[in-house]
């Protein structure tokens, strides 16, 4: 039986909120009760009771939703599936079953123990499979293995049928194929409550990961240098997206506002072969951004600093300087992925308020875009803003996956995530204005579709946004669904699936699939 936490319960304050401290937006927006489910049968029963009481159900696996989709549900029921967290082998050799409440850190650890397998998912330990996988499941192994839904072969989901009855069904390529496609990136929260993900096979876990980085201090940054770094970063992936030698690579260029952050370039090279694999590539890549000085010039303590701190000098007082070769760390892959992380899955008093935006880029940055980014990131108005520019593409860009998943972005080389974090509600307006201002400026250059200024509307340069980096500001665009689901047949299909499998539109939120009129 589900454990029920109502408003009179001492647990209610903590368990009725999400990871983003902006939500619930007020006490009035809180649910009436949280129900912790421990099995699919629990989900069916709890969901049916909610329907019969006339309550709106929302679903939470870890509570990392960026927007107000889950905990803003006045008088409703929050079905929490975080305790449905098993990771097991499946019925056939090499297959696995992952429940929605499994934290990604636990998923990696269990898959390692069960068979040395891996999902190409994210790196945040406490994010759970439910939202992460059903929304796509992107991570550092994406260029090598694609995204997680590319490996998904079946989903157990509780839906509510036309008669208003909750029922558990199994969707795969043969059973409920349209629903299955929708659940491969179109998010479970649109259609029902996912109770298990099935994978007929998964790729092998890399043996080791090489990590290296460069960090730049804004005090030593000029506009010209900034433009060169940003355009070099994008141009590399524009030229090398199809180069298999770069498939094991994940890079991210992280740019913090000049008043509050630094600029950092990080890379991961996932080794599946010997210890030398990729080391030359790492040096060549980093040299594109900052060549090393001769080793003979190194200060006496330079090598000791490398040993002590691995990659960079500490404290970070200026641009990273290297002598001879760029420092590279080699770490066991699973250890590097799960060590030093953790978290309870509950949300304490140190929660932060946050806002995110996203963009897929099909080409590198133009000089005009890089200049706009420089202007924005040196502006007082965007203090606290961070832009993470991740590598994308490689095996993700398999055109066959456009037709059988709900992730249409298969031509991009970069995935951008704009982020802002703050503590006090009083700063909401400033922080939200900052991130919005930057985003609007970035997609108002000649690269953007002139009919959709301010948005990375799909064209020859952009491929829209990532639904797992949800951004309700996009609702201001009448064509916001195109930003997430593309210009092809996907959104009409999602609407049809919605009509068929959630005929009462019971599973809805601010950015859910709109039923066909």
């Amino acid at each position: 039986m589900a454990s029920v936490v109502d408003r009179n319960d001492v647990r209610f304050e903590v368990c009725s909120r999400g990871n983003n401290a902006r939500f619930p937006a007020s006490d009035s927006q809180r649910v009436a009760q949280v129900e912790y489910c421990t099995s699919a049968e629990d989900v069916v029963r709890t969901l049916q009771q909610a329907i019969d009481r006339g309550q709106r159900p929302t679903v939470r696996s870890s509570g990392h939703c960026y927007e107000d989709w889950v905990v803003n549900n006045p008088g409703g029921v929050l079905l929490d599936v975080s305790m449905m967290d098993r990771v097991t082998t499946g019925e056939t050799p090499g297959s696995y079953v992952i429940q929605p409440g499994a934290k990604l850190g636990v998923v990696y650890e269990r898959l390692y123990k069960l068979g040395g397998a891996v999902i190409p998912g994210g790196t945040c330990y406490t994010v759970t499979a439910g939202g992460h996988v059903s929304g796509g499941g992107y991570g550092t192994l994406a260029r090598m293995y694609g995204i997680t839904v590319d490996w998904l072969t079946g989903v157990e989901i509780v839906i509510v049928n036309q008669a208003g009855k909750a029922e558990l069904i199994y969707a795969d390529a043969q059973h409920h194929p349209a629903l299955f496609r929708a659940l491969r990136g179109g998010q479970g929260s649109n259609f029902g409550v996912i109770t298990a993900f099935h994978f007929a096979k998964l790729p092998p876990m890399p043996k080791q990961v090489l990590t290296a980085n460069i960090s730049w201090d804004w005090k030593e940054m000029t506009r010209e240098k900034f433009v060169r770094i940003v355009t070099t970063y994008g141009d590399y992936w524009a030229k090398n997206d199809k180069n298999p030698a770069t498939y094991p690579v994940f890079t991210n260029l992280v740019i913090g506002n000049s008043k509050s952050g630094r600029i950092g370039l990080g890379l991961h090279y996932a080794q599946t072969g010997d210890d030398n694999e990729g080391r030359d590539w790492v040096q060549e890549y980093l040299n594109l951004f900052q060549a090393c000085r001769p080793a003979a010039e190194a200060p006496p303590d330079y090598l000791q600093q490398q040993q002590d701190f691995g990659q960079q000098q500490r404290p970070l007082v200026g641009d990273t300087v290297c002598y001879g070769t760029h420092p590279v760390r080699a770490l066991n892959w699973v250890e590097a992925t799960v060590s030093g992380q953790g978290g309870s899955g509950l949300y304490g008093s140190n929660r932060r308020r946050s806002k995110y935006k996203s963009c897929y880029m099909k080409k590198g940055f133009t000089v005009a875009e890089a200049n706009v980014l420089y202007d924005q990131m040196t502006s007082d108005a965007t203090r606290g803003l961070i832009l993470a520019i991740d590598s994308y593409g490689g095996m993700v860009n398999n055109p066959a996956r456009i037709a059988d998943t709900a992730i249409p972005q298969r031509n991009s080389i970069l995935k951008l995530q704009y982020q802002s974090y703050w503590l006090n509600e009083a700063d909401d307006a400033f922080r939200l204005n900052g991130i919005r201002q930057c985003y609007k400026a970035m997609y108002s250059t000649p690269s953007a579709d002139p009919k959709h200024p301010g948005y990375p509307y799909p064209n020859e340069n952009f491929e829209g946004c990532y639904i797992n980096y949800a951004d309700a500001d996009m609702l201001e665009s009448p064509e916001w669904t195109t930003l997430y689901y593309g210009t092809g047949d996907l959104y009409p299909l999602l609407q049809q699936v919605k009509k068929e499998y959630d005929p009462h539109n019971l599973f809805h939120h601010s950015m859910s699939i709109r039923p066909k009129a």
């Binding site: 408003r7 009760q33 009481r53 006339g54 006045p74 008088g75 609702l475």
Partner: protein
């Protein structure tokens, strides 16, 4: 509240209607009257709220898709629902609150979105204590309960009740006890939700 099936009496219905000044029949025009001879007329098709003072139309306020209205308990504020299917990009209707000037003019105080799926609201009632508004939205088969602010304007949605089957009621009212009477059932806010009471 007793836990027995509720059968509203004619008297209870009249008391409820008197308290709520409901005017939401599904017709092109609707009327609401308060003391001092001021009557308000909704022109649903044209999108107007007309003030009629002692028999003369004195003021007309443009309003998008006005669909139903109700007075605040002190007769100082008029709440008017908008029959939107989309409000600020969301699938929801909305409600505006207007201060009623002595000469019948309306001054808009706020416009508040309804819950998701509460599209095309068609009926509104106010509780006897003036602290709650109930709104029915046929578009999503949804009842919304809203708080009322200190300024007597419509506040946040505090509860949502959804019917998957059956008809969404065209009329309902609050009884003297503050229970929302819908068809033959009574509802009240219990533990944070709009719950059916009395069987």
């Amino acid at each position: 509240m007793t836990m027995q099936e509720y059968k509203p009496t004619r008297r209870a219905v009249l008391q409820g209607i008197a308290g709520a000044a409901i005017c939401a029949a599904p017709m092109t025009r609707a009327f609401a009257a308060i003391g001092d001879g001021i009557t308000f007329e909704l022109d649903r098709e044209g999108g107007w709220i007309h003030s009629i003072v002692r028999g003369e139309r004195r003021h007309s306020e443009k309003a998008d898709l006005p669909s139903a209205m109700v007075y605040s308990s002190d007769h100082q504020v008029l709440h008017v629902t908008h029959g939107y299917t989309t409000y600020l990009g969301l699938p929801a209707g909305a409600i505006s609150s207007y201060r009623v000037e002595p000469n019948g003019h309306l001054q808009r105080l706020t416009t508040q979105g309804l819950s998701l799926t509460a599209m095309s609201p068609h009926h509104v009632a106010i509780s006897p204590d003036g602290r709650s508004l109930a709104i029915a939205a046929a578009g999503g088969r949804v009842l919304n309960m809203l708080s009322v602010t200190e300024e007597n304007a419509a506040g946040e949605v505090i509860a949502v009740h959804r019917k998957l089957r059956g008809n969404i009621p065209h009329e309902f009212f609050f009884d003297r006890d503050g229970a929302l009477c819908v068809d033959s059932h009574r509802y009240a806010m219990l533990e944070g939700r709009l719950a059916r009471i009395g069987g």
